[in-house]
């Protein structure tokens, strides 16, 4: 077994990208994700890769668009205000069905907000963000180990589904240090993607074209339904297919009277809350979506038949809670507790909320 090493979340993600065969990073500095580009600025030249600091997030995502179109494994990273700037390019990448990795180390917003951890870009990440009918695959790690694991998975998913993948992390996960076991390196060959611009294999037929413009309404409609069908396929793969393991994590949900729901760093706090609840005789469980799109609605709906209520906890004013409500379909109450602006709720605060719900005297 590989050795455990101590790393920051952002660095573990960056190193895993290199191990996954990513040799091109394009980005623009922004706090709190700077360790990621700084690490790759040192690391990529060691493996004959390219680290390029772009003139803006807009330029960076368009470099990703061009790079991804060649078939290379490429990535960019940013934090909330920077990811807003990337939305135009992300829409093009999704429309052109190009694989790439986009990392959002979320900070407080809206506007310039602040540089403290937040989860207020959930809507942007999972509901579109840019213009048009499209989806990203959105992964939400909750540990330094998962910052690594999910990076490898992200590149695999991007290539498998020909779709951009976003890792939705936050300032805590990016900055904190934990032991991590890194994966074995992958031998990635740009020419494995025969659709790539500049592919010159003997089996190339005609030319390779990458465009997102469909002037005839019937052609654009056809393209949009094609994308829709792909998204349905991705949903199925994550709900019951070979990507199921990446969908959710559960603790003690089967007999729970109250299921706490949270993703990312919040799920770590919720785990502690569940343990404390159980010690106090409250049958609490934890449901943690590991993948935010496609959302594990099927499992939430199943649990809605078993439990008495849900409490969704987020570092926002309530975004993922809407997806939980959609899946629960009013069968049981869905409560929400959030802190925002860069504040992280304590286990004590959340425990108080649980008390208010299960012991309303």
């Amino acid at each position: 077994m590989a050795d455990k090493i101590l790393m920051k979340g952002n660095e573990a993600l960056a190193e895993t990208a290199v191990l996954a065969g990513c040799r091109h990073y394009f980005g623009y500095p922004i706090t709190p994700q700077s360790e990621l580009p700084e690490y790759l600025a040192k690391r990529l030249p060691e493996v004959e890769g390219v680290f390029l600091q772009a003139e803006s997030e807009i330029a960076a995502i368009n470099m990703i668009y061009g790079g991804a179109a060649t078939g290379a494994r490429v990535m960019t990273s940013s934090s909330s205000p920077g990811v807003s700037l990337k939305q135009e390019g992300i829409s093009y990448i999704a429309a052109a069905e190009l694989p790439c990795l986009i990392v959002n180390v979320m900070r407080g917003g809206p506007g310039l907000g602040n540089i403290s951890p937040a989860q207020s870009d959930y809507f942007q990440a999972t509901k579109g963000g840019g213009h048009g009918d499209y989806h990203l695959i959105v992964l939400a790690p909750n540990s330094v180990q998962e910052m690594s694991d999910m990076t490898m998975k992200a590149f695999e998913a991007a290539d498998t589904f020909k779709n951009p993948v976003m890792i939705l992390s936050d300032g805590v996960l990016g900055q904190m240090m934990e032991p991590v076991v890194l994966p074995e390196p992958v031998n990635f060959d740009i020419n494995s993607k025969k659709w790539g611009l500049g592919y010159r294999g003997a089996d190339k037929k005609g030319r390779n074209l990458c465009t997102t413009i469909f002037m005839d309404v019937e052609h654009l409609e056809e393209h949009n339904w094609h994308l829709y069908q792909k998204y349905q396929f991705i949903r199925d793969e994550f709900e019951k297919g070979s990507w199921k393991d990446l969908s959710i994590e559960e603790h003690e949900c089967e007999d729970a009277d109250i299921i706490l729901v949270g993703y990312g760093i919040i799920s770590r706090i919720l785990k502690t809350v569940v343990e404390k609840c159980r010690k106090r005789g409250i049958k609490a469980g934890l449901l943690r979506p590991k993948t935010l799109w496609p959302f594990p609605s099927g499992r939430v709906a199943e649990l809605a038949k078993k439990t008495k209520q849900f409490l969704v906890v987020e570092m926002s004013c309530g975004q993922m809670v809407e997806d939980i409500k959609l899946a629960v379909e009013g069968k049981v109450p869905v409560y929400f507790f959030g802190r925002t602006g860069g504040t992280i709720p304590s286990d004590f605060e959340i425990l108080n909320e649980v008390d208010k719900i299960v012991r309303p005297d």
């Binding site: 091109h24 394009f26 390219v50 390029l52 772009a54 003139e55 803006s56 807009i58 330029a59 960076a60 368009n62 470099m63 990703i64 668009y65 061009g66 790079g67 991804a68 179109a69 060649t70 078939g71 290379a72 490429v74 135009e88 390019g89 093009y92 740009i190 611009l197 500049g198 010159r200 030319r207 390779n208 074209l209 990458c210 465009t211 997102t212 413009i213």
Partner: protein, 249 residues
């Protein structure tokens, strides 16, 4: 029978959607001829802009990608960095390159990206219906400057070649036109030179071509071409602003 003139291999047989008298078709041909003559067709990747030449990819027999408005130099950068053995060019109009894409073109030039940029300057937005461009001449009437461009309100025409030639990195920056057969031959030479430099790994090459827009200028092609000489060239002087390769040679 010997065939002495035919469609370049890099040019597709598709009829273009350009207006009668438009210069795009001619310049597409010069690009295609240059690529063919240098034997680069197999490894050339084009980047199409947003504007009249948004469908440029339909008219070339080359690997192609269509970029968002103004972003072509960034897209070209991504391609070139991932496939350094390819020949990458962007084909952009004045709205695309000199307005919304100013940051992308300046920084691609400043990095000395080993790409070729063909910049079509006809002093107007064509595709959207003849609005004022950053290159519109002072006093020139357009759909969004109906009283003529007022420099006190919207500034003066932006001179991209001169701006880019201020940077240290670019290898070749030139401004040409296609309004006479002689001028067209010079443009061909400039475009071919730009691709040759890229082939030789000499860095960023930029060819600005002064063109007409008969439809939105409201002038027949012959009159429009004369208008280039009388009105555009005095503001946008022809000439080579940078030729590093020649200096080094």
């Amino acid at each position: 029978m010997q065939k002495i003139f035919s469609r370049p291999q890099s040019l597709s047989a598709n009829p273009t959607h350009y207006c009668p008298g438009c210069d795009h078709g001619v310049i597409h041909r010069l690009v295609a001829e240059s690529i063919d003559e240098l034997g680069l067709a197999e490894r050339t990747i084009g980047v199409a802009p947003v504007g009249c030449s948004v469908f440029a990819y339909e008219y070339f027999n080359l690997d192609f990608i269509s970029a968002a408005h103004g972003r072509a130099p960034a897209v070209a950068t991504g391609i070139k960095r991932c496939r350094p053995d390819s020949i990458v060019f962007t084909y952009q109009g004045d709205g695309d390159l000199a307005a919304i894409g100013t940051a992308e073109i300046i920084h691609a030039a400043n990095r000395g990206e080993n790409i070729t940029v063909v910049f079509i300057n006809n002093a107007i937005y064509g595709m959207t219906g003849g609005q004022m461009a950053p290159t519109t001449l002072v006093g020139m009437k357009t759909a969004t400057s109906p009283y003529g461009r007022d420099a006190s309100l919207t500034g003066n025409p932006i001179k991209m070649s001169e701006m880019i030639a201020c940077l240290d990195a670019p290898a070749y920056v030139t401004r040409v036109t296609v309004n006479t057969p002689a001028a067209l031959m010079k443009t061909k030479k400039a475009i071919k030179n730009a691709f040759q430099l890229q082939k030789d790994g000499k860095g960023f090459s930029f060819v600005e071509v002064l063109c007409i827009c008969p439809t939105n200028w409201g002038k027949p092609p012959a009159e429009a071409h004369k208008w280039v000489t009388d009105n555009m060239i005095p503001v946008f002087p022809l000439g080579t602003f940078r030729d590093k390769h020649k200096i080094e040679a």
